[in-house]
Symmetry: C2
Subunit: 210 residues, 2 copies
DNA sequence: TTATCATAAATTGGCGCCAATTTTGGATAT
DNA sequence: ATATCCAAAATTGGCGCCAATTTATGATAA
């Protein structure tokens, strides 16, 4: 069984190029509306042409970029109507499982949520907008996971990406961020109290003003 | 070096190969679990290798097929847990906009729904399972469209594809199909009466036993 | 100076080849 | 007869070339 495979040092590409581009879109490095030239991406991410093309096709499927035949791909610009429609969807889903979340949450779960909320709070002062954005994402992901429906969690994660093209610029004011922080703690309190109805209201309010 | 470009009669491919494969998966022609060899698809749909690969990658993104590196792609086998989780999602979304549907529906809308429901009824006796399946889809699509949230309609359409891999075999008994028919009419009556609460109940029941 | 058009440069996107890996089939030894 | 192993065939998947189309450039005429 001595299949001597040289196994060269050639596997630093554990992550897909798609994720790299996705990340740069979400952090605003690749601005909404800008054209994504294949040559640029090829050099920027040190990958081959087919890889770039596959990534762009995947992102187009997820509607994070738009494809114009013979013209190329450009980052989707956030659409007002679309954004509010997605918000409505998120409210239906995330608020819809509020009672499940309140029912399933154990003591350590609540602790974990408090930690994540605290991390968000700390980053308000000392973190970059990107770190803040990701901390917020982590909190909501953890909270939603308690509903027990993994398909739903994945779906929300997916449609969330679909609109927050330039998430960094989304939270304009400091006041708004601190309001978000307060709401996080309200949600946690409702979870700790096992109060599904209150949690549902808190989630709905939180999503509406995001 | 004379590259003779015959320009054969080769342009009936206005539709993407992805949709063709998708259709064949949904109608059960390509059975769940079966391996999709690239050569076979290439010949079956009269297209090139790269086209097949792109289509398979897209379907893998939508999780209609699964990709095993160096082994190929095979049709996803329906998973019990996953199916019930998707049902729950559909209930949250479709029942969640019941009041919107009831509020927005005009007289001609109701008429159109009655026509679609009737077409479904007619196909119970004279149609193929596939036709029945598509008539059912058309009815639900039309009904849901009344909510006014196009993002939500698209999303439901998408996640619906995700689980009903072998939709034909899904409605086992005649009794169940006729039950579905009755529920369709119940929903329409609720819409016509502008009764959102009753509609919500009817939709939830209908999805649960699908 | 400004508009129009032709030519050149750049970009996209289709297609096929070939290496890497896996599967199949059969021969050999126990 | 059965298991093991090796070789051949089949399949996947990465990569690059080149044609088609679009965009940029510059020259010419009004």
């Amino acid at each position: 069984m001595n299949k001597v495979k040289p196994r060269e040092a050639n596997n630093p590409t554990a992550v897909d190029v798609t994720d790299l581009i996705l990340h740069d879109i979400q952090t605003g490095v690749l601005a909404p509306g800008s054209w994504l030239k294949q040559i640029d991406l090829e050099q920027r991410y040190q990958c081959t042409r087919p890889e770039v093309r596959r990534a762009l096709d995947r992102l187009a499927q997820r509607r994070l970029v738009e494809h114009v035949p013979n013209r190329g791909y450009h980052v989707y610009e956030p659409d007002g109507r679309q954004a509010s429609e997605v918000s409505e969807i998120r409210i239906l889903l995330e608020a819809g499982v509020a009672d499940k979340i309140a029912a399933n949450a154990s003591e350590p779960d609540v602790e974990a949520l408090r930690d994540l909320a605290s991390r968000f709070d700390a980053l308000i002062l000392e973190g970059t907008p990107i770190e803040l954005y990701e901390a917020n994402l982590a909190f909501h992901h953890r909270l939603l996971s308690l509903c027990g429906n993994t398909e739903l969690v994945n779906l929300v994660t997916e449609i969330r990406q679909r609109t927050s093209s330039a998430p960094v610029s989304q939270w304009k004011t400091r006041a708004r961020i601190e309001q978000s922080s307060r709401e996080h703690h309200q949600m946690i309190d409702a979870v700790a109290a096992g109060d599904g109805a209150t949690l549902k209201e808190a989630i709905a309010r939180h999503i509406r003003q995001d």
